[in-house]
């Protein structure tokens, strides 16, 4: 290393130490809302680097210019934090990553990292692929992983078709994630990780997270949670011991519907039986600088700031949306045309008890209106019909204000029939395994007044003969 490069490295070390001190001593001590609003973007940073801009600038630049060749060498060999090229990193991407790492790491003593990517599906691929590598030179090495089968249709497709059918990596499905024996029976020495989506889309399945995480760690493998439906405002799997969390940031986090984004959040020093210290020590930094640099699922800096802007109101938004969803769920529960409602907040839901252990509105104990921990269950629910698929279609076709679309997490109410849309690609057999009946309607409740949502559902249901 020449003297010039050395100088950059030393300056960078000071900067990193200062930044870590700021995050540990200041930011990590703030409440959830304060982190949602500011992330790690400080007043000093705004004034020193960004002309005082209160809002994080959108760095729509594909590449970074360097002061001299020494800085370039230091940056490109990853000796100093830099961003180089927006496929690898970018200052605006960094703002979003800081915020997401802090939110999913809220209440967790250790440090967390984040790598944002172009979509939730890219997040799942980025989080899982580093474990699906060969450990030996044997060509017939049988790699497997274990996952709940109640996952988003796209995830099911990625696991079932892309990984299993096309590459021979076995995905072992768990039908009842609350049955620890079933999980245990699927794990062997070639199992690389356990994966679970909770609450699941669209069936709202939930399970005792800590127990499954402990099981993973007993086998020396990581647990990866898809926590998209809950968001860190309700559930933070890393605090329960999870190694990695994936988020489709597109959903409730970016409620405005302004674009597609995904994130991988991990704690430092994850558990894994893969002998790759860089990966285990700092998983998100590893995937960012190496596999994702080579695979290229990068997010647009513009999208990063749009998402960041939506996240600032996450906690209060999900509180209101959850309360509206509860009202809608109660209306549907008593409706004569509806045979079943899946919403974890309903007392008679079989998983209500286990959900109550985990789904808390973050910081409700510090909220003037509650002053105690309060359970909240999000804004996704689903329901089935006494009249089967025809009834579901009739109701859907008569919705006037609720949008028919394959989307969730929006500030606007959106409904879909998963069997003919989001989960169509799974096929009948897989859908029945994942408990998605053909007449299931998925409803993601928006921020309209709940009475208006109920009125629209009521008039549409009255068309069901």
């Amino acid at each position: 290393m020449n003297e010039g490069v050395q100088k950059y490295v030393e300056n960078a070390k000071k900067m990193i130490a200062e930044r870590e001190r700021y995050i540990k001593q200041k930011v990590k001590k703030w409440k959830f809302d304060t982190i949602s609003v500011h992330g790690a973007y400080s007043v000093e940073e705004a004034i020193e680097n960004n002309q005082g801009a209160i809002i994080e600038p959108i760095f729509m630049s594909s590449s970074q210019a360097f002061r001299d060749s020494d800085e370039m060498e230091a940056a490109l060999s990853y000796l100093i934090p830099s961003w180089t090229y927006s496929r690898i990193h970018n200052p605006s991407i960094g703002y979003l990553e800081d915020t997401l790492a802090l939110l999913d790491g809220y209440g967790f003593d250790g440090m967390t990292g984040c790598c944002v990517v172009a979509s939730g599906m890219a997040a799942i691929a980025s989080a899982t692929e580093p474990f699906l590598v060969k450990l030996t030179n044997q060509t017939n090495e049988k790699i497997n992983f274990v996952s709940t089968c109640q996952v988003y249709g796209g995830t099911f497709q990625q696991f079932n078709v892309r990984k299993m059918q096309e590459r021979g990596i076995e995905c072992r499905w768990v039908a009842d994630p609350n049955n620890l024996d079933e999980w245990t029976s699927k794990i062997d020495k070639n199992t690389r990780f356990l994966f679970g989506e909770l609450p699941s889309n669209p069936g709202l399945v939930f399970f005792d997270l800590k127990k499954v995480i402990d099981l993973a760690h007993e086998h020396g493998i990581p647990f990866i949670a898809d926590s998209t439906v809950a968001t860190p405002a309700l559930l933070r799997p890393i605090s329960s011991g999870a190694d990695i969390v994936v988020q489709s940031v597109t959903k409730t986090m970016t409620a405005s519907g302004f674009g597609i984004a995904g994130a991988v959040i991990a704690r430092k020093n994850i558990i894994s039986n893969i002998e790759n210290d860089k990966m285990r020590t700092d998983f998100t930094n590893y995937i960012k600088l190496l596999p994702n640099r080579d695979m290229g699922p990068c997010l647009s800096p513009f999208q990063a700031v749009l998402s960041l802007n939506d996240i600032r109101t996450l906690r209060s938004r999900i509180d209101i949306l959850s309360q509206s969803s509860m009202k809608v769920a109660r209306f549907l529960e008593t409706h004569p045309k509806v045979s079943r409602v899946n919403y974890l907040g309903l007392e008679n839901h079989p998983l209500h008890g286990v959900a109550n252990k985990y789904l808390w509105l973050v910081d409700s104990e510090y909220d003037e209106q509650y002053r105690k921990p309060v359970n909240r269950y999000g804004h996704l629910l689903s329901f089935e019909f006494k009249g089967g698929i025809q009834a579901a279609r009739t109701m859907m076709d008569h919705l006037k204000r609720i949008w028919r679309a394959t989307d969730l997490g929006r500030i606007k109410s959106v409904a879909t029939i998963p069997s003919i849309s989001t989960h169509q690609q799974m096929g009948d057999e897989c859908r029945s395994m994942a408990c998605i009946p053909c007449d299931l309607v998925r409803l993601c409740v928006g921020a309209e007044h709940p009475d208006d949502i109920i009125a629209d559902l009521d008039q549409a249901l009255s068309e069901v003969k």
């Binding site: 007043v43 705004a46 004034i47 020193e48 680097n49 960004n50 002309q51 005082g52 801009a53 209160i54 809002i55 600038p57 959108i58 760095f59 729509m60 630049s61 594909s62 590449s63 970074q64 210019a65 360097f66 002061r67 830099s82 961003w83 200052p91 605006s92 513009f302 700031v305």
Partner: protein, 388 residues
């Protein structure tokens, strides 16, 4: 540095802290002060810096700097629209009781501003044909504060001699303000010809892609400072995102204008030979009454043209309703070819008499030639003319 290089690099510096080559979008309404004294110093203008986006923003200022550079001006200021740019210039230059001399062939929105809004503020406006020099001289009185022209003029493509107007204005100690929207600094730089102030609708060729609304004023640094003082209180601030899109659009101004000119020339020549066309208005045609002036002050002749269809307004209507590739829409300077009828659309603020006085016949059709293949545009016009 040649204008083409300035168009690509002008006003652009890698971001100081991050090295970002493309400028960041400072989509922020406000800026943090180091301390209370810092804030006070910024407000007193004792120190340069940012306060609030209506008063200044790094992304917006970069656009102002770049256009000033392209126009060979000392400084610039960006506005929410081209009309906001013109209005702010008038408010700064012309007080109540004062007088403006203005060419009569200008964009319809500018015409309405001068005819209806400015008089309400006590400003008197004389409209005249600025190619008639003796009329121009005699219209100036002791209260006159500015001469305003648009060249090429919207929509008739009349060309006004900028150098001559500047000479007359300066002889009376007046500034000349030129709307250079149609030509852009790639084809014509009024300040180099003697003008004092240049205004633009950035919505047009600067943005170039029909996705923003914006306006620009460039001129002497002292004037821009005066303009800023008024503008910040009038409040027609552009969004940083629109400013950034304009910066992005500007990078390809030279190549776009080059192709716009080639296409427009081909189409003008085609139309000039068409039996259903009475007259074509394009400054690049030898038959154009002010072709010589255009040749002297413009490097090429632009992407705008107009024409009268045989059969007048009704025939023009059939044409506009029959085009399939060209889009029936106002605005101009987009990559798409846009066709419209000024008399009932962009220039509907003109009365029938005013239209005729400005040389806009009832059937006059305006075409903003886009970047499609010229033959495809011609084919579309051919089939549409066939319906008449």
């Amino acid at each position: 540095m040649d204008i083409e290089t300035k168009i690509v690099h002008g006003g652009q510096h890698p971001d100081k802290e991050t090295g970002a080559i493309s400028p960041p979008i400072y989509q922020t309404s406000t800026f943090a002060f180091k301390d209370a004294d810092h804030g006070a110093r910024l407000f007193k203008q004792e120190e340069e810096g940012y306060i609030y986006t209506r008063l200044g923003n790094p992304t917006i200022n970069l656009l102002a700097e770049k256009i000033a550079l392209l126009e060979s001006a000392e400084a610039g200021l960006v506005f929410a629209s081209g009309l906001a740019a013109i209005f702010n210039v008038m408010v700064t230059l012309v007080g109540s009781g004062a007088h403006v001399v203005c060419d009569d062939t200008i964009y319809g929105g500018t015409f309405t501003l001068f005819k209806n809004i400015l008089p309400r503020l006590g400003i008197k406006v004389t409209f005249l044909d600025a190619t008639n020099i003796s009329d121009l001289i005699s219209a100036i009185n002791e209260n006159t504060k500015v001469i305003f022209i648009e060249t090429p003029a919207n929509p008739t493509l009349k060309i006004i001699d900028i150098a001559k107007c500047a000479e007359i204005a300066h002889g009376k100690n007046l500034p000349l303000c030129v709307d250079n929207t149609f030509a852009t600094p790639y084809l014509q730089r009024p300040i180099e010809l003697g003008a004092d102030i240049v205004v633009h609708s950035a919505t047009k060729y600067f943005g170039g892609h029909g996705d923003i609304i914006g306006g620009v004023v460039v001129g002497k640094r002292d004037f821009i400072k005066r303009l800023w003082k008024d503008a910040k209180d009038i409040g027609a601030a552009i969004s940083p995102f629109n400013a950034w899109l304009t910066l992005r659009g500007l990078k390809t101004l030279a190549v776009r204008m080059h192709k716009h000119c080639i296409n427009a020339t081909e189409i003008a020549e085609y139309l000039a030979k068409h039996k259903k066309i009475e007259q074509v208005y394009y400054p690049g045609l030898l038959s154009h009454p002010t072709y010589e002036t255009a040749k002297r002050q413009m490097s090429k002749f632009g992407g705008m043209l107009g024409f009268d269809v045989t059969g007048g307004k009704e025939a023009g209507k059939i044409l506009m309703n029959s085009v399939k590739l060209c889009t029936l829409a106002v605005s101009l300077g987009d990559v798409d070819t846009l066709i419209e009828h000024p008399g009932s659309m962009t220039h509907s603020g003109y009365s029938d008499e005013e239209l005729l006085e400005s040389g806009i016949k009832p059937g006059f059709v305006r075409l903003s030639v886009g970047l499609e293949n010229a033959n495809d545009i011609i084919e579309d016009l051919e089939q549409a003319l066939g319906k008449i």
